[in-house]
Every structure is written in structure tokens, then in C-alpha cells.
Symmetry: C2
Subunit: 152 residues, 2 copies
């Protein structure tokens, strides 16, 4: 079944329109799958993404600005996202020594443990994507880069 059938549309104006709609549809499909999984751990998709960004820097801290830059959706309320994570003891916030405007955020051991557990879960559902070969997955990524004008 192709995207036309998934959303019951007869035809698209152009292959570009079709690709755009398909990206959005697929994104939603992915988000739903992931969110359902994360819900069991009482973490939202956004929180999960922030945690992964923090792990990427660990053991170094990262500022709120740094988080926003790396987030998939820019979103203005990274502060409040960090608030939520602090409530769960998954990250800590501490003053940045050389610039008191900034705030350093660091993932805690508890946060790292949670991520490790989520990694396993992720691997599991990601096998659902293996209808694509690894090469095809890379081609997909490359085409997306090119679509955004970020290729080469």
C-alpha cells in the first residue's frame, strides 16, 4: 500500500508534493510509534530527544541555547522542558561559571540509566523498519539531505 492509499488520495500535483505529504505522514507514523513506547516510561518524545542531546555531550554540560540549537524542532520552551526533566531527577541544572546568564545542564546517572533502557526498546521497534536495507536507509537520508539543500 502506498501513500495514496494510506490517505485515500487519488493523485498528487507533483512528485514533490507527494514527497512532502509522505514525509509528514511518515513522520507522524514514527512519532506515534515512539510516543506509545515512551509513554510506558513516563517520558515524552521531546524529553527523550533532549536527554539524547545531553548524553551526546556527557560528561560535559550544555547550555539551554545549545539544546535548542540541536533540537529537531526549535521550540521556544526548552527551559520548561528542562524543568520537567529536573523534577524527575534525570538532569541537573547549575550555574555557568564564566557567564552568569547561561545555565549548564547535565544528564544524571538516573537519566543515563533510563536512556540505556530506552535504547533497548528503541532497537526493538526499529527492527520494524528493516523492510528497508541499510543501504536504502542511507539513500533515504541522503535524499532528505538533498531535499533540504544540505547535501554534499
Amino acid at each position: 500500500m502506498s501513500i495514496e492509499q494510506d490517505i485515500q488520495q487519488k493523485a498528487f500535483k507533483s512528485p514533490y508534493t507527494k514527497a512532502v505529504v509522505n514525509i509528514m505522514f511518515t513522520n507522524n507514523w514514527l512519532c506515534t510509534l515512539q510516543s506509545d513506547l515512551l509513554k510506558r516510561y513516563d517520558v515524552t518524545l521531546q524529553q527523550y530527544n533532549v536527554l539524547r542531546i545531553l548524553r551526546g555531550q556527557h560528561p560535559n554540560p550544555i547550555t539551554v541555547c545549545g539544546i535548542i540549537e540541536r533540537m529537531l524542532d526549535k521550540m521556544s520552551n526548552a527551559s520548561r522542558l528542562v524543568d520537567k526533566l529536573i523534577l524527575k531527577d534525570l538532569v541537573i541544572r547549575k550555574e555557568c561559571p564564566h557567564d552568569r546568564r547561561q545555565v549548564d545542564v547535565i544528564i544524571t546517572d538516573k537519566g543515563l540509566d533510563l536512556l540505556a533502557e530506552l535504547d533497548n526498546q528503541q532497537s526493538e521497534w526499529e527492527t520494524a523498519l528493516h523492510k528497508l536495507s541499510p543501504e536504502e536507509a542511507l539513500t533515504l537520508s541522503h535524499l532528505l539531505d538533498k531535499l533540504r539543500g544540505s547535501a554534499e
Copy 2:
């Protein structure tokens, strides 16, 4: 520039993880572009998508359920989205004759006019995607279908 640079990540665990992140990142990139454009016409992306679904059926009506089925993101509040569109006189709601639970929704001439104008705008920014050849755009769609297990 590739997705690694866009989100300042060194490497991905697998080509699948990379593709998933890239889809989400690209989706956000697309949504931002489109929303900015639609904002000038005081229409949200969601509302625009519903309008396009209604045009796809025009001059036939479609029920709220029908809209939800065709929406890119399932979302529970199609009723309220229709409410918003009614306030702007872009659609009308009328009772469904053969099943009084259902509600028929039809796009108005004003709605069609707005869509026509938006189509032009869309075409314009879609040319930004022409770094991809039409064939590549189709390949992209096909890979996404396959990723979801919806291919062939």
C-alpha cells in the same frame, strides 16, 4: 551539509536511526516553511490540510470521521478544527440525511478561492525542493512507503 552537521551529532547508531532522525528533522523544516507562509493568510497547517481534504471531495460532502481518516495526523479534535474553519466561512456543516449521528462538511467558494491562492504560494516554495529531480522525489516517496511497510 548533512543531517549530522545540521543537528551537530557525530554519528548515528545505525542507518535506520539516522533515517528516522532525518525524517523528523526534515518534517520540521518543511512544517516551519509552510506555516510561515500560511500565517500570512491566517490559516494553520492543520486547517490547510483539512481544506485540501475537503477540496478533494468537492462538491461532495465528507463526514468528520472521513476527515480524520484522511488527516496526516489522526488528532482527536477534527470537530474543533471544523469549528475554526466555519468561523472563517471557509466550510459549512450540515446534517447528514441518512445518518443523523454524522455531520457533512463541505468547503465553500470562499474556501476554494483561498486554496487556489495558497496553491500558487505553495508552488513557489516547492521549487525550493527542486534540488531533487522528479525521479529522486519519487524514489524518496517509495522508500518512505517501504519504511512504513506500505510498499507494493
